[in-house]
Symmetry: C2
Subunit: 111 residues, 2 copies
DNA sequence: TAGCTATATAACTACCATGTTATGTAGTCG
DNA sequence: CGACTACATAACATGGTAGTTATATAGCTA
């Protein structure tokens, strides 16, 4: 199947959006950090870093941008389906959607 | 090797640029068409479509944008290393850099 | 309830991407 | 040489991206 024909697939439809989401050094860093939250962020009092991911605040701090700017980067990644947000006890935790990321990586092999 | 560490590689250094180049429906179409120039463009009087690719004019026409707009899309792809330009007898032919594209696809598997 | 914290949203600014038309440049051909 | 063609570049308009500060919302906690 051609890349263009894939534009009618669930992933293919979103291909341009996903690529736009990935085309940012800061968002690539976020995805990298989320591969191993415990290694990149301070210990969390609530929420298991492995199960739920890292909280917004830690990510924003590490990015070195304002809280709204970091929050929007995370939203872009969520909207592209690359990460999953889990609101919990006033915090929001983010983790990679590995299945979806893998699916996108497969499509990229056919670009 | 992590994605971030790859930022010191030849491909990794360019990862953001490549993703920005790919994050455009029009440029994805160009790459798709160049997979098989003979199937997507009229016969060329000069230049072998398989060896040198399709000429600027055909691509621009098929995109349906102005000549400068199409020309710039092609330049973005060239600058990202995704296609190769071959000036010849007043025309410029473009073909995919399959080796480079494959290299990028491999890196994407580690995103 | 009152106040604190975490996150999201609004409003604004600056910059980049992409489109256009106009023009420059290089090669072809009569 | 002069006209034509192919492509690149310049100049400009416009929309989207990404940053900021200010403000709203929601959940703890005393």
């Amino acid at each position: 199947m051609s890349v263009v024909e894939q534009l009618s697939n669930d992933v293919g439809v979103e291909l341009e959006r996903v690529l736009k989401a990935l085309a940012s050094e800061r968002r690539l860093l976020i995805l990298e950090w989320l591969k191993d939250p415990s290694a990149h962020f301070p210990p969390q009092e609530h929420g298991d870093p492995v199960e739920h991911g890292a909280c917004n605040q830690f990510i924003v701090d590490k990015l070195g941008v304002s809280q709204p700017a970091g929050s929007r980067h995370l939203k872009v990644l969520v909207d592209a389906g690359l990460i999953i947000a889990t609101p919990r006890q006033g915090w929001t935790y983010y983790r990679r959607d590995e299945e979806r990321i893998q699916s996108i990586a497969s499509r990229m092999a056919e670009i």
